[in-house]
């Protein structure tokens, strides 16, 4: 360090020194960083195993310097179940998008939650299929235009956007559910705290922990990053409110 300079920020140690390929303004980058900061702060790199989905974050293992398995589309919850059941003292997370977790993998998601699998879901809900070029997702908002709903999501035809945090908080064996975002520094701090809570509860074997991130997709939404933040505030949060849906009893914690 140069004389006279003071280190005030650096990338988390557990984030690899790799150029990140996510689009500018995408929340994946922030969420990767926050997650790896938590892993660093808890000192659990050696005990962490992650599962990547199919979706934009399919290459998460290029950025996160922990052991990882790449799952088939939708199957991350089953893969994470397999890992956690074999290695119950490790910290296991699945990092999934909305197509993965809430469309093709809904059965795996719900059944893992119902069994109370003791791992952490990190659910990036950006309301669109980013990787395949902006098609409609199970969480696309009513009227929202995508390449497969060019006239806007028609709920008469396709139903309402799925509220996964609300759904999984109904399961007895799910310990902790919170919807967060990282559209502002304040919300990013809350998101980081939620990640930390989830991993700590997992360490205490309290049951399934589920963090939904109301996220953006500037490219898929055909917006600038700034416009996407406004869309979040105006359209997304009213339908997908940021809040704690369920948390463990104080006694358990």
């Amino acid at each position: 360090m140069k004389k006279g300079y003071k280190l005030i920020y650096q990338r988390p140690k557990t984030l690899t020194d790799t150029r990140i390929n996510y689009c500018p303004g995408c929340f994946h980058t922030t969420m990767h960083k926050l997650l790896m900061e938590v892993v660093d702060e808890m000192g659990i790199q050696e005990k962490t195993v992650g599962v990547c989905p199919v979706g934009c974050s399919v290459f998460a293992y290029n950025y996160m310097n922990v052991d990882m398995q790449e799952a088939a589309h939708g199957r991350a919850a089953a893969v994470a179940t397999g890992i956690k059941r074999m290695l119950p003292d490790r910290y296991v997370f699945s990092y999934q998008g909305d197509g993965d977790l809430a469309a093709i993998g809904t059965a795996e998601t719900l059944h893992a939650c119902n069994r109370g699998e003791n791992f952490t879901f990190i659910f990036i809900n950006n309301g669109i299929y980013g990787m395949t070029g902006g098609q409609m997702a199970p969480t696309t908002l009513e009227g929202q235009k995508t390449t497969t709903s060019p006239y806007g999501r028609d709920v008469e035809k396709i139903g309402m956007p799925l509220k996964m945090a609300e759904i999984v908080s109904q399961f007895d064996r799910v310990a902790y559910v919170e919807r967060v975002s990282c559209n502002t520094p304040a919300n990013s701090r809350k998101a980081k705290k939620a990640l930390r809570n989830a991993l700590e509860y997992q360490g205490k074997k309290l049951g399934t922990t589920f963090i939904e991130v109301a996220s953006n997709c500037p490219s898929g939404w055909k917006m600038t990053p700034e416009e996407s933040l406004k869309w979040l505030e105006d359209k997304v949060f009213p339908y997908y409110p940021l809040k704690v849906f369920k948390k463990p009893d104080k006694k358990e914690v």
Partner: protein
């Protein structure tokens, strides 16, 4: 000598898995193999393995992926429609090179089909089954004893080659009881430095993936797999023969059918027909070379593949024989087991024609 018991094929397979150091079983009930998960569920409290009745075969195969990837010795069992559902996962497992043992207790198809025994999943099992260029080692037991022996062998081969292994059996072998000698339990100590158990300071992170987005990388990965498959073809071909030394007609059959054709051989021999039985125990790799050798021997008049399907293994027999001798086929479908005498009569007719 190990412990002697009278057991159903499905239960014997479960017991063998326990003794061979099973750590994780993930399955979904389907006839005619549900006895495996039932047996393992019943025995679970006495042992140290994890058993999950998954929400579907899709979930089960992916739990296999996760648990196998975490370094555990894992098994799933299913029957034909369920095995179709698992094919996606098996393709991923083959590419990510995760040792897993599968058992398909085959029933007649296509579709929902019948729960009666069949061999109509031969193509699916031996030619890959899912998408992409891959194979699984396919073991074909023809007795309850081999249901046990091939569990040990299957686990070993899966570990040795980091590859999925399939035991391809059928409803009859799963349901029938025979005398079986159970080997002593082993203490399984996995040595899998590639497993995702948590990145320690002394190594780079372990990544299990089947994603190679650059064509060059994907081709390289395929070359690695193909090289491995060549090794397996070289080292792991297994077969069994019966009264073949002086035979001029060779019946080729596997699994349950080979039990029936053994009786056909005895019947034929009594009536003066010089017939012998060649039984592949590995369907992939198939014993192509050995059959080719027989095809080159003058005494052999013809081959006949006898199967419980519309003619699947016969294609491998033809590949091996390579036009050097006639190759015939006799089969029954839909869960019907051919009788030894109907096979004899068919061969008798062929023999008159040749």
């Amino acid at each position: 000598m190990g412990e002697l018991r009278l057991m159903k094929g499905n239960e014997a397979l479960g017991e063998a898995a326990i003794r061979a150091g099973l750590q994780g079983y993930f399955g979904y009930p389907i006839t005619p193999q549900s006895e495996v998960i039932e047996y393992l569920a019943q025995q679970e409290p006495k042992h140290n393995y994890v058993l999950i009745q998954a929400e579907s075969e899709l979930a089960a195969v992916n739990m296999m992926y996760g648990a196998g990837g975490a370094g555990a010795r894992v098994l799933t069992t299913t029957s034909s429609p369920g095995f179709s559902l698992m094919q996606e996962g098996i393709s991923y497992i083959a590419s990510a090179e995760i040792p897993c043992l599968f058992c398909n207790v085959v029933r007649g198809g296509p579709g929902l089909g019948t729960i009666q025994p069949s061999q109509s999943d031969y193509f699916q099992s031996t030619k890959g089954g899912g998408h992409g260029d891959y194979h699984t080692i396919v073991l074909a037991p023809n007795s309850v004893q081999e249901m046990v022996d091939f569990v040990y062998l299957g686990f070993e081969l899966a570990d040795k080659y980091r590859t999925p292994v399939t035991i391809l059996t059928d409803g009859a072998i799963g349901q029938m009881m025979e005398k079986v000698e159970l080997p002593d339990p082993i203490e399984y100590k996995p040595d899998k430095p590639w497993a995702t158990t948590g990145k320690t300071k002394d190594r780079e992170r372990n990544i299990l993936t089947s994603l190679y987005i650059q064509s060059e990388d994907m081709e390289k990965k395929n070359q690695v797999l193909q090289k491995k498959y060549d090794q397996i073809k070289k080292n792991e071909v297994r077969f069994d023969e019966y009264k073949i030394k002086d035979a001029d007609i060779i019946i080729v059959s596997f699994g349950l059918t080979s039990r029936v054709t053994r009786k056909t051989v005895d019947m034929g021999r009594k009536k003066g027909m010089k017939v012998g039985l060649f039984r592949p125990q590995t369907l992939w790799p198939f014993p192509w070379e050995k059959l080719e050798q027989y095809a080159e021997e003058d005494r052999i008049k013809f081959f006949i593949s006898v199967e419980m399907n519309a003619g699947q293994m016969v294609e491998d027999v033809k590949l091996a024989v390579c036009g050097k001798k006639p190759v015939h086929f006799y089969g029954r479908m839909g869960g019907i087991v051919p009788a030894h005498d109907e096979i004899y009569n068919h061969i008798q007719k062929l023999s008159e024609k040749e």
